[in-house]
Subunit: 206 residues, 2 copies
DNA sequence: TCTTTTTTTAACTAATTAGTTAAACTGTTT
DNA sequence: AAACAGTTTAACTAATTAGTTAAAAAAAGA
């Protein structure tokens, strides 16, 4: 073990995991370092030893939380597939990534509401890469005469906005006892979003 | 003047307006009462006199912020119109309401990320009424054989999620200087969302 | 105009919060 | 085994935060 010991990496990871959950649930200001220490069983000074400050901890959490999102989504897209399959794969992969890590959409929404001022550059870049990947699909579809022209940002917002809102609202929807039938699973939601977007963009015969 | 004086209603309104902006920007925990007092030029004790507590102030702000949203949207729908026009009017009215009051989508997103735990019942009811109004349109469209079957919640999430995310991300998008052409106006976004959803739901000839 | 009620104020309070210190403990290297 | 480096700890600190008090000021009512 050279720079980082086993113990230290375990402690740091434990802190980071708990902190990510708290930041997603309570926001930056609502996450209290004493509570985080209590939650992890780690002494508060250890947190400062490993991460330097609350802000430093936040940035580490965000960097990890958003790292790989774009990779996962872009990796799910096979360029030789039809643009419809590419689009479908994009939506499904984003949905899966967000569902597997609900802290990500929650933080994304908080950061957007705060004008992204605490969002590290690396996280922003991940979002940019998503938009660019989607743009590539849409442009190809338009070029082949299969998809209608549309602003990539519109489609991006519809995918990210709807699925993020759906996923983070799960606890709230579960609490609404008067509308049990109104709720749907993430798989169903994803498929419906995907179908609607594909049908909405598909060039139809006139 | 009986229960509430002119001066008191002016002061309370001034506090509430400034507080709403701050809650939307910084969240509940990030909004500091001393700063709110400084921003309004009102003594902090006056805030407590009028609203009782920070939580009481928050609830007053939220109640006002969300009041009328459903009314505005539902009022924009003419039941004798085609379901496409109804849908279009729904989307346009929500977009306008959110754009005119960007604090609303910002708070909505924050509250969703926090499982809505600080969201007053009245605000929740407004959202429920929106979903119900949309459900009515979709069911009518399906009954008439004009719209494909789809879960109202899916469409609701797509409208609210995409437009809210778009509107609150405006400051962030403006800050991204390397993609000026990638941005679009709210009118264009609204129209594209509306067209895509309508085309995506439209029953086509086989 | 006087009395009552409402509102605002300056100053204060107790609790909370992010962060710090230096010693003790643990792990690594020679 | 000793020296060095890394990590954790208990206790502490200064600043901040939500909230309070009682008097002064303003507004309303008779």
């Amino acid at each position: 073990m050279s720079e980082i010991t086993k113990k230290s990496s375990k402690t740091a990871a434990l802190i980071q995991e708990a902190a990510t959950n708290m930041f997603a649930t309570y926001g930056f200001d609502g996450t209290i370092m004493d509570e985080l220490a209590a939650k992890t069983g780690v002494n508060k000074a250890s947190i400062y030893y490993h991460f330097g400050s609350k802000q430093g901890l936040y940035e580490a959490c965000m960097t990890t939380l958003f790292s790989g999102v774009a990779n996962q989504v872009l990796a799910a897209i096979a360029p030789q597939d039809s643009v419809f399959d590419q689009l479908s794969a994009f939506i499904a992969a984003f949905s899966q990534a967000a569902y597997k890590s609900p802290n990500m959409p929650a933080v994304l929404m908080r950061e957007m509401a705060s004008s992204g001022k605490n969002m590290p550059k690396s996280a922003r870049q991940q979002m940019q890469r998503l938009l660019f990947g989607l743009k590539t699909i849409l442009e190809e579809g338009e070029r082949k005469g299969l998809l209608k022209p549309i602003q990539p940002l519109t489609v991006h917002m519809m995918i990210v906005g709807s699925l993020s809102l759906y996923i983070v609202s799960e606890p709230l929807r579960r609490g609404i006892a008067d509308a049990p039938q109104a709720d749907i699973s993430v798989a169903e939601m994803t498929e419906e979003v995907s179908n609607l977007i594909q049908n909405g963009l598909k060039v139809t015969e006139k």
